[in-house]
C-alpha cells in the first residue's frame, strides 16, 4: 500500500507501469486518473487546498478499508494539492486483485470516498474571477452504494 499527498506532478504512465509489474497472483489491475477539465477554455488554473495530517490519515484509512473489503493485493493513491493547470493530472488510484470485479470495485470505492470524505477543496480561477467548486449531490449519493 502506497499513499502520497504532494504538490509536485506525478508521472502517471511510470506509476501505472510500475504498479502493474511483477504480479503472479493478481490477474487484474485497474487505474483511475483525474484530470483538470477546461470544457470551454476559460480556466486559468485550479488550486487545491488540503488539511495536512488529516488528508494523509483519511486516504490511508480509505485505502486500508478498500484493501480489506475487496481483497486487494496492492493499492496506490496519489493526490496533488496546490496549483494545477488544465490537462494536468490531479490524482490517481490503482488497485490489484486476483479478479477484475474486485479490482474495479476497489477503485470505484476509493474514488467515491475520496470525492466526498478526503479533506480537499478545489478553487477554480478563470478570467471572470475565482470560485470554490461546490460538492455534488451525486458524489454524496455515490457513497450509498457501499
Amino acid at each position: 500500500m502506497d499513499v502520497r499527498v504532494q504538490s509536485e506532478p506525478f508521472d502517471f504512465g511510470a506509476e501505472a507501469g510500475r504498479f502493474a509489474e511483477g504480479h503472479h497472483t493478481m490477474g487484474a489491475v485497474v487505474t483511475f486518473t483525474g484530470i483538470v477539465r477546461d470544457d470551454d477554455g476559460t480556466l486559468d488554473r485550479m488550486e487545491i487546498e488540503h488539511y495536512p495530517g488529516m488528508t494523509e490519515r483519511a486516504l490511508e484509512a480509505h485505502a486500508r478499508e478498500a484493501q480489506e473489503r475487496f481483497s486487494l493485493g496492492d493499492v496506490l493513491v496519489i493526490h496533488r494539492h496546490g496549483a494545477l493547470r488544465p490537462g494536468e493530472m490531479i490524482m490517481m488510484v490503482a488497485t490489484a486483485a486476483p479478479h477484475r470485479a474486485d479490482a474495479f470495485e476497489g477503485a470505484q470505492y476509493l474514488m467515491d470516498y475520496l470525492k466526498s470524505r478526503a479533506p480537499f477543496w478545489k478553487k477554480e480561477y478563470t478570467a471572470d474571477g475565482a470560485a470554490w467548486v461546490a460538492a455534488k449531490d451525486e458524489d454524496e449519493d455515490a457513497l450509498g452504494r457501499w
Binding site: 488539511y51 480537499f120 470554490w132
Partner: protein, 81 residues
C-alpha cells in the same frame, strides 16, 4: 484549543488557524461562542448544513463532545478526486 478553517470558511473568517480558550462542551456550543464574537464568524457559521467539522482530524458531528479534543477544524463539504 486549536481551531482550523479551510476553503471559504477560512476566507470568511480571515485566518487559517487560531488558538481559543473555551468552556464549550460541544461543537455546537463552540460555534455559538464564535458567532457571538464577531460578524465574520456569524457569516462563516450562518448555515451549518453547508459546513463539516473534524475533531482531532476525524470527521465528527456538531453535537460531539469536545472533551479532550485539541484540534477542531471547520470546512465546507469536501471536493477531492
Amino acid at each position: 484549543m486549536q481551531i482550523l478553517y479551510f476553503a471559504w470558511v477560512r476566507e470568511r473568517i480571515g485566518e487559517a488557524r487560531e488558538t481559543v480558550e473555551t468552556e464549550a462542551t460541544t461543537v455546537t456550543e463552540l460555534i455559538e461562542e464564535l458567532r457571538a464574537r464577531d460578524p465574520r464568524y456569524a457569516a462563516a457559521f450562518a448555515d451549518l448544513s453547508a459546513l463539516r467539522v473534524a475533531l482531532d482530524q476525524d470527521l465528527s458531528d456538531f453535537d460531539a463532545p469536545l472533551d479532550g479534543v485539541r484540534e477542531v477544524a471547520f470546512f465546507p463539504p469536501m471536493t477531492g478526486g
